[in-house]
Symmetry: C2
Subunit: 373 residues, 2 copies
């Protein structure tokens, strides 16, 4: 009986069935709720020598937000560029710096920014609680010891990084998340006021990350009623935001919730073809995740016909013209590497196409798609 | 600045704005996921003398479920009738018994059943971590010390007790929840297989608890985009379940998720007139919460016209005939007490009708509604 149950668990490991999913245990929502952060952090301060580390998108370096960060004692604010995807070596460097700067283990880490900053904050919190290099933790459930207390404050919505149990990093070998129960934030602050300042293209690309992963999860083979209900709500909200005519503030709030529910929908599902191929694009060319998803997804009629139709309506409505000619000059080696990275994402392909996915995906087909980009 | 912020918080206390909401930190979903419970509890066992206490609806006393409860060492299974609403003195008696039976503080409490059992388990876990009588904790944020680790396994869906931060109890003075951050379950197991065995009337009344609180929260004045998104999804799922033509298993799974999202929608909202009046009905006549809500809601056209129309379609489709003549023989004193209990639920009325609700609700109007029941 026990044997059967363990055997079953092994089979189901990648399929996420029966996963004991870690939800963010604390969330505060509301316009202006960022100012609650001081009160939230206070009881988590171990002592005046154990600082909070604020990792902040350098977009905010000269903005008034900085004056609202509740730093005390020897807290540290580190501005980080989100122009590139977060990297394992960047995580290692941050952890090294923090360990050098302070004798004591910090009280916690606060990430303020979009998906890149949130994933960085999650990864730094994990690595401050563990020994070794971040690249060794890329994968599923490789984290042995608890992370430091960590808080996420999304300032751009769409990635779902605020609720997910992964911190996606580009490493020397692969672009892959630190997927673990210790990765999930201990606290999230959802303040839609931040969304007012997001540049339009970034707003669109990041929002499309949510839309696309809803399409992938709702059409995936892993889906169950739990994830479906979250995915459907996120999908509906994305349509309201990107195809409806909502007042600006309503659209901001609904996009923030779309991202939240979209992230939750991954609890018992997975993303699919667009994300797998976008990972290849990011790893080889350093293209940001949101844009990468859009670049791939536009050519995925064969996999997601209805989703692609809606996506093109959204592009048109918001006058977004995607860049072209990105892959034409790639060497054969680079193209091979991209396909290799994409095809290494087994769970994503299995979710998209079922257990026999390897029979259904041709290397040439993927190369053709990449070359259209 | 600090003063202003505190003053603002006082004003907002009942309105839940900026509440740092405690989400259930762990959830497992899936048919058969109940069998994960052994693995979930194992690392939470403090030692072999610190038992788990299983509070189980006595409906299961002679069912095979009992053989699947993962009890070990000196764990205790206590069967509890859910025929009556849970009471503060019942909580006190359970806590007293557990303290007498064991020298050590238990490892935790597991509630298996519908809303009554879940609320009992939450209240027992709170009181095992605190001193005094349960009635002294009825209210908002009166719990000073952490509760014991506690797990909820809903076997009927609709109340939202599996995600809420309250444990509703009838006390000597009032029917009111222990609303606190310590009340929320540490772990929930969502296994839709349980829903196959729920008697039809109970299925309907409990499902309507969800439907009705969605109507109340979506139409309420406290609502924000966070709660709206959950409430809308729960509302849609309820319509699918009670007015659609879903296969039985799909309907079970969707109702389980409706209850979950419906409970979450209360994070930044409140229930309203039906729940306030239903509390009066329960307290004076001991009528179960789900049925009480239905009895009241059918007569609330003046407050929730669209919701009441849908509700009547649901009654008709499922051939449910609500009992009548329940309040006709009440004494004036009893009727006064009912109205008094209902009107004491300030936040519910304020949510329903706004800050000037006292001008808009007449005692006579409530009596008239009660007398129709």
């Amino acid at each position: 009986m026990k044997e059967l149950s363990n055997a079953k668990k092994r089979v189901l490991k990648n399929k996420t069935e029966f996963r004991n999913f870690p939800m963010v245990p604390r969330v505060v929502y509301g316009r202006g709720s960022f100012d609650q952060l001081a009160d939230i952090l206070l009881p988590k301060r171990k002592n005046s020598d154990a600082p909070f580390i604020f990792l902040v998108d350098d977009f905010f370096q000269d903005k008034t937000l900085v004056t609202r960060i509740p730093w005390l004692f020897n807290d540290q604010i580190i501005f980080v560029s989100a122009n590139e995807e977060p990297k394992t070596e960047q995580v290692d460097a941050l952890v090294h710096k923090i360990r050098q700067d302070f004798d004591e283990q910090p009280s916690g880490v606060v990430g303020i920014g979009g998906g890149s900053l949130l994933d960085l904050a999650k990864a730094v919190a994990v690595m401050l609680g563990n020994q070794g290099r971040a690249e060794n933790f890329q994968g599923w459930d490789l984290v042995g010891r608890p992370s430091l207390y960590h808080v996420g404050v999304p300032t751009i919505s769409g990635t779902g990084a605020e609720v997910s149990r992964t911190a996606v990093l580009s490493g020397p070998q692969k672009k892959l998340g630190i997927n673990s129960d210790y990765t999930t934030f201990d606290q999230v602050v959802l303040d839609p006021d931040f969304l007012g300042s997001v540049p339009k293209q970034q707003w669109f690309y990041t929002g499309m990350d949510c839309f696309i992963h809803c399409v992938e999860s709702l059409q995936g083979t892993y889906l169950n009623a739990f994830s479906q209900s979250y995915g459907e709500k996120a999908f509906d909200l994305c349509q309201d935001v990107f195809l409806g005519d909502l007042p600006k503030k309503d659209a901001e709030e609904k996009l923030m919730m779309a991202s939240w529910h979209g992230g939750m929908s991954i609890a018992y599902s997975q993303v699919g073809v667009a994300h797998a191929m976008s990972y290849g694009l990011s790893h080889v060319l350093g293209i940001k995740h949101g844009l990468g998803n859009c670049l791939v997804f536009q050519h995925l009629n064969a996999f997601y016909p209805d989703g692609v139709t809606l996506f093109k309506q959204m592009l048109k409505k918001h006058l977004i013209v995607l860049p072209t000619g990105i892959c034409v000059q790639l060497s054969d080696d680079q193209l091979d590497e991209m396909v290799h990275i994409a095809l290494a994402m087994d769970p994503l392909w299995e979710n998209a196409l079922g257990p026999k996915w390897k029979e259904r995906v041709k290397v040439e087909e993927l190369k053709e798609i990449y070359l259209k980009i």
